[in-house]
């Protein structure tokens, strides 16, 4: 393996963005997108651990049918905070704010994002929101579920609802500004020659995600303010006792939160496309179809929110329309799965950690997507709505899908980010263990759900006990699968073998320079003259020679 491209050897001897400053101030006041990415990597890792600790309590409680580990109120707070922390403080920023921040300018040949200081501000806003959430936890928690359904949240709950809502409200602005920044960057700062259909699918996926962030998040913000106002000063918006309508809340909430599901999966799809293509030395099959299907998912994703409300009292005809559209949003997802599989055909496939995670993503996302069809089918949804079937389904997408992709992407780009190599064997092992642990944890929940076990149950009928026990045992395996990369990557950042500039011979523009990149990314102006994913199966032993201008 050797550095890719001419001139990189001389560049790599210069200072990297990591050596540009060592003071705390140089990190906390940085406007370098690569350093801001690090601020997010550390923050979301902390919140992932917080959310995981809550999941651990939940799994211990559910190992037996009796509610004997914590009180019902504590349990309710555990799953509420688990959801709030994992959704808004881990999953939504997970890939966009870390890999997206780091890679978008590098992938499009720009020196930074369009608004570098705004990017730093976004992280401070995230942190401010995080402080409210931490306060919520310390003050005694919130027990509304991450969905904050009214009138329970606005009038009945005796927990710290306003603090929790304020945290989510604030972190929403971080999302909006990050999305805005990416949109402006992708539109205005692409290198000459880098046309839209030469963009890596990762950029497409972050772009589509940004559109959703900008268009949907304000609706959530307004909704949460209304809940706060109803709770504090009693304006009647959602509580029927005050003349409000609780279903209005559900419409507004899911108008954001269903598209938010795509915020939590599209970036994972982007990462998977990069990884599968590189490790099989093949251009992504059906590139344009892949790009269009990303946009289609983002667009149709806005029109399906009512499938969360099939049993709410929503009109049957509205349910029919939402049901049909929910089936339709699965079409572009299916296109993506078929094309990922086809990319392998006649490839030259190797199974580094990133590839194992990517293939795991395809498997888990496929199962998560197909069970989504079951939920879109109104008659069946009536039965499985709000049961463990739903819990299993969205964990397959958001954890099986997004977390697998996030970890796969972190391994793949780790040499670029740190200039160090992680331990490959441990990496492969962690991908396999988390795949097994994940299925062991969540597959039994499909069965429990179809047999009728409702979600958010502190104690439950004994007939579901064996399934829940398997799930709890699986969670232990899954926890090992998640701790390994934390140790492996954490260790390698300091003590790992020095990485070559382009250890995977990847074709992306982000790999053309030194690893880790210099502070301003590119020392010479970049001009792009090639199609994306210019891989050839016979280049596997030879470095790619970028033929850019």
């Amino acid at each position: 393996m050797s550095d890719a491209g001419s001139g990189t050897l001389s560049r790599s001897s210069r200072a990297s963005y990591l050596t540009a400053g060592y003071t705390l101030r140089s990190w906390l006041l940085t406007s370098d997108h690569k350093r801001v990415a690090w601020l997010y990597i550390l923050s979301i890792t902390i919140f992932f651990l917080v959310g995981a600790a809550m999941a651990a309590v939940i799994r211990v409680e559910l190992a037996t049918a009796e509610g004997d580990t914590v009180t019902a109120d504590s349990y309710n707070k555990m799953f509420s905070l688990h959801g709030i922390v994992m959704v808004w403080f881990f999953l939504i920023p997970a890939i966009p704010a870390t890999l997206g921040n780091f890679l978008i300018p590098l992938m499009i040949g720009a020196r930074d994002l369009a608004f570098p200081k705004l990017n730093l501000l976004s992280w401070y806003i995230y942190t401010l929101g995080a402080i409210f959430t931490v306060y919520t936890v310390i003050a005694g928690g919130v027990d509304t579920g991450w969905t904050f359904y009214t009138p329970f949240s606005s009038m009945f709950s005796n927990s710290h609802v306003v603090a929790a809502l304020t945290g989510v409200f604030i972190v929403g602005f971080s999302s909006i500004l990050t999305g805005l920044n990416f949109i402006a960057t992708v539109h205005k700062m692409r290198a000459p020659g880098l046309t839209w259909f030469r963009l890596p699918l990762f950029v497409w996926s972050i772009y589509a995600t940004s559109l959703i962030l900008v268009l949907a998040t304000p609706v959530l913000a307004i909704t949460l303010v209304l809940v706060i106002l109803e709770r504090t000063v009693g304006i009647g918006i959602f509580d029927p006792a005050l003349g409000g309508d609780p279903l209005l809340f559900q419409h507004l909430f899911w108008f954001y939160s269903h598209p938010a599901v795509y915020i939590m999966i599209l970036p994972g799809m982007g990462v998977t496309s990069e990884l599968i293509s590189c490790y099989s030395r093949r251009p992504v099959a059906g590139y344009r179809f892949m790009a269009y299907s990303i946009l289609a998912i983002a667009f149709i994703g806005f029109l399906v929110w009512g499938h969360h409300m099939f049993v709410s009292g929503q009109s049957a005809y509205a349910s029919l329309v939402f049901g049909l559209l929910s089936f339709m949003v699965a079409v572009p997802s299916a296109i993506k799965v078929f094309n990922w599989t086809a990319t392998l055909y006649k490839g030259s496939i190797s199974f580094e950690t990133g590839m194992l995670y990517a293939l795991g993503f395809v498997g888990l996302f496929t199962l998560g997507g197909l069970t989504g069809l079951v939920l879109a089918s109104i008659a069946v949804d009536v039965h499985v709505h709000d049961t463990y079937f739903v819990v299993a389904h969205f964990h397959y997408i958001m954890v099986g899908g997004m977390v697998m992709a996030y970890l796969g992407g972190m391994h793949f780009w780790w040499p670029k980010i740190t200039g160090r190599m992680y331990n490959e064997t441990v990496g492969q092992l962690s991908a396999i263990i988390s795949f097994i642990g994940f299925n062991l944890t969540f597959f039994p929940q499909f069965v429990a759900g179809y047999l009728g076990m409702p979600r958010r149950y502190h104690s439950y009928p004994p007939e579901y006990e064996s399934l829940q026990l398997v799930s709890s045992v699986g969670a232990v395996v899954l926890a090992i699968g998640y701790l390994l990369p934390l140790l492996n990557l954490g260790w390698s950042a300091f003590a790992g073998r020095k990485a070559p500039g382009n250890p995977w011979n990847a074709s992306g523009l982000e790999w053309s320079g030194a690893s880790p990149p210099p502070p301003h990314n590119f020392s010479e102006p970049v001009v792009v003259a090639q199609e994306p994913y210019s891989y050839h199966t016979d280049d596997r032993d030879n470095p790619l020679v970028p033929d850019r201008a």
Binding site: Y345, L370, V374, G452, E463
Partner: protein
């Protein structure tokens, strides 16, 4: 099986449950085929085209566009087919049924209350006859709850401030679980009960043993007088108020020129927020009762007003 355990999703206690299961099994089967297909393909490609093997990659493998369009069109058609099937099963479950036994359900933190037309009341237990159409009209006294009968594959939210309904026809006698499926606070997981499906003769016997002295409508009439509704809403009263006789089910002309059918929802709204739909030709002088009546009392009053029509 005499003292059988409570049944959940493992049994099919209604025709609808069987319909839902067929649909689900077909979808699960198709999903299994797709997942297995993808997995097998990935496996074959992974072995055949692994890097250490250097044959069989002649020529750039172009994908014919036809293949792309095929795997767009085929899933789309299958999805539409599955949607239509699911929609039909769903619409059937929603269709009006004749001669139904009318039951009223109120969800409250953390219990289920059931009101029979004959006046009997039950807490966390529901006795119903087998093979009989049943209409459950639901409301909630506080937060949103969801009445879930897994053995019947039905679920319906009980939403404060509005009525929702669900149809039920039990095919098998037995004892089945009732659960709350919408998170409703501390004791959400304790908000459960039992549906006991009985042979018609057992059900009649149960009704006799649990008979109340008055029907739900008669309880409503008592309330009607106690709350002084009768002061205005009877013929010959000095204050002019719309007559309630024959009102239920009739088309009502409103002051703003629109019309509304006087169903349960209209009656409920007209009691708690009288100034919302004012009947043509009347001034609204009625006080709002939104803080003074429980959902159960509203069900009684409505049953009484309904009886004024049904008796004719």
């Amino acid at each position: 099986m005499a003292n059988a355990e409570l049944q959940t999703g493992a049994v099919q206690a209604s025709e609808f449950a069987a319909d839902v299961d067929s649909l689900f099994l077909v979808m699960a089967g198709l999903s299994g085929i797709v997942v297995a297909g993808i997995a097998v393909l990935i496996l074959i490609f992974s072995i055949r085209y692994r890097r250490s093997r250097s044959s069989m990659r002649e020529g750039p493998p172009d994908f014919p566009l036809a293949l792309e369009y095929t795997w767009i069109a085929v899933p789309t058609l299958i999805f539409i087919g599955l949607f239509v099937w699911g929609a039909r099963v769903f619409l059937q479950s929603q269709a009006e049924r004749n001669d139904a036994l009318e039951l009223r359900v109120v969800g409250q933190q953390w219990m289920w209350m059931f009101y029979h037309p004959g006046g009997a009341r039950e807490l966390n237990e529901l006795h119903i006859p087998v093979d009989r159409n049943i209409r459950l009209l639901l409301s909630s006294d506080d937060v949103i709850h969801s009445l879930y009968l897994p053995a019947f594959r039905i679920k319906q939210d009980a939403v404060p401030g509005r009525y929702t309904q669900v149809w039920l026809n039990a095919e098998r006698t037995g004892r089945y679980r009732i659960m709350c499926a919408e998170y409703c606070g501390t004791e959400h997981s304790q908000m459960y009960g039992v549906v006991e499906v009985m042979e018609p003769e057992d059900y009649s016997l149960w009704l006799e043993l649990n008979a109340y002295d008055t029907t739900l409508a008669a309880q409503g009439e008592r309330l009607f007088n106690a709350m002084a509704c009768s002061g205005c809403h009877t013929s010959g009263s000095t204050i002019q108020a719309p007559s309630l006789e024959g009102l239920y089910g009739r088309v009502v002309n409103l002051q703003d020129g629109s019309t509304v059918v006087a169903d349960e929802v209209y009656l409920r709204d007209s009691i708690i927020v009288p100034d919302r739909d004012i009947v043509a030709g009347f001034d609204n002088v009625m006080p709002a009762y939104n803080d003074q009546l429980s959902e159960a009392q509203l069900f009684m009053l409505i049953a009484y007003i309904q009886s004024l029509t049904l008796a004719q």
